[in-house]
């Protein structure tokens, strides 16, 4: 690695590097449009998501129902949009929960240092070996399958990786000269957290968050698939895949459309996360 290369890398901003990554940019646009369509679904969906048309139940895709109808004659496209709203909401809110807990825990561990830090991180190691899916399932049952609790439960078990990464970064920041300078000038810990840690962690946090969303959405889909998550008449992509899988012989379109949209969304999130990491994480260099 010669000097000029480093300089040219440093002289261009992360966004410029990001924009050169075609796959990541397209994934970003795909996600934005999916999210827009899903969240606008009450306005633009062709039918209300729970409207039943029993005369045309289990109909194959047609001009009237682009993606067909399910066993109760509900329009699959409209349900797909409504389910997407739920799935994306879970992804966003549960990730925010995981972010909040992960940042606090990671920064706290790095700040206390010493034995307490070791103990805190050992706890994370141990918890991450436990069967957390079981705990999420139990939680959703205990709290009556209502949405906020699903968000909390899913987020509550997804913060472990985040805490680990944030702690490692914070440790480095803590040892850096500008933080030591701030300390010697008498800035409070809270001030250092807000003025120095958070801005420097922002890139890492963005990458982490993007890569946490698919895991969180998968977890929700798992729980819904087992019939323990989102309750009828609402739906989510996981639940739609489940319903489609039950009658895939007769009505394959009920399985195909939610599966494809779900897989594409997860794929785009992974591409976007990788792109962000390559662009903003100084240590990952593209080989």
């Amino acid at each position: 690695m010669s000097e000029p290369v480093v300089e040219s890398l440093a002289s261009e901003s992360g966004w410029q590097r990001f924009r050169r990554d075609r796959a990541a940019v397209w994934s970003g646009w795909f996600l934005v449009s999916i999210a827009a369509v899903c969240f606008l679904s009450p306005l633009i969906a062709p039918y209300p998501y729970m409207a039943q048309d029993l005369a045309h139940s289990a109909a194959a895709p047609s001009p009237a129902h682009w993606l067909g109808t399910d066993l109760l004659g509900r329009d699959v496209l409209s349900r797909l949009l409504q389910g997407g709203m739920i799935s994306l909401c879970v992804g966003l809110i549960a990730t925010s929960v995981a972010l909040a807990v992960g940042i606090c825990y990671g920064v706290l561990a790095a700040e206390v240092g010493g034995r307490a830090e070791d103990a805190l991180m050992r706890f994370v190691d141990i918890v991450s070996t436990l069967p957390l899916t079981l705990i999420v399932i139990l939680c959703t049952v205990v709290f009556g399958q209502n949405m906020p609790m699903i968000f909390l439960a899913v987020g509550g078990v997804s913060w472990l990786t985040m805490a680990r990464i944030i702690r490692n970064q914070t440790r480095e920041l803590k040892a850096s000269q500008f933080v030591q300078a701030a300390e010697s000038l008498g800035q409070s810990r809270w001030g250092i957290f807000c003025r120095h840690y958070l801005p420097n962690l922002a890139g890492t946090i963005a990458v982490c968050a993007t890569l946490t969303v698919p895991g969180v959405m998968l977890l929700e889909a798992f729980v819904s698939f087992l019939g323990l998550g989102v309750k009828a008449p609402m739906t989510s992509w996981g639940l739609m895949i489940k319903e489609g899988a039950d009658i895939m012989e007769e009505c394959p379109w009920l399985l195909i459309s939610p599966s494809v949209v779900f897989a594409l969304t997860l794929l785009s999130l992974n591409f976007l996360g990788d792109g962000l990491r390559d662009a903003f994480d100084p240590r990952s260099s593209r080989k």
Binding site: T129, I137, L138, C139, V142, G144, A245, L267, N270
Partner: protein
Amino acid sequence: MAYVLRRLLEMIPVLLIVVAATFFLAHAVPGGPFDKDRPLPAEVKARLEQYYGLDQPLPVQLGNYVVNLAQGDLGPSIKYPGWSVREVIGSRIGVSASLGLVSLLLAVLIGVPVGVLAASRPNSWLDRVPMGFTLVGICVPSFVLGPVLALIFSLGLGWLPPCGWGSAIHYVLPACTLGLITAAPLARLTRGSLMEVRSLDYVRTARAKGVPPLRVWFVHALRNALLPVVTYLGPAAAGLVSGSFVIESLFDVPGMGRLFVTAIINRDVMLILGTTIVYAVALLFLNLAADLANAALNPKVARSR
């Protein structure tokens, strides 16, 4: 040896926490095991609760449970009268364990060679095509892949039974689904770590001193490159567990995953606790095994203990 002992001792508080957390969660589930469509007479219900020890205060119940657990007794099942939880789990655990092992084996046998192959010719079609597939494998969840495989191989081609259990042929679809899903991240991990290792100085030295290329590749590079892969097997096993819930209900496999889901639906507190504990113990031991394998491969790790 002292290290293994320390890890084993560490498991005890972890298990206690799992037991306590699951215990209170399971008891907080609304509705009890004796709530039926038609309510039981109050005195019958009271006698039943007394028989199962459910009438005592929760901390006492928890204490009793832990004492019994220490003696290997998981208590009586409520949904299967006359059966102990140990017997119920014992009748199911073989199915899940064998399915899990076959899947894990399949994942390693597919994932590692694919990763090695991809890393041997980086950025060629030999790399791009399999890596594209692994990306799909990461994004397609097991509950999508399972139905799709069933649609193709049992309903379309009629080669395999779509569901059921009993003979070796019933393993194929569920094990392939779980194995392929797990193989994808393994292949990516193997490739990434091989790419990193092969640019290291010691590999160049080995090549320079005239070690045959294949020997450099398999003996020098691969041994080191497999370290993160082995470490990943612990979390991969955890992924198999959650995958198995879905796969077992999808392919009608009488295993632990289905047992857990039905236990929750039936509010069978004892069975919920029992299955969770068995899963936790299994995962803790798998992680320990992965760490030990890592130490066996890596003298540096072994010495630092």
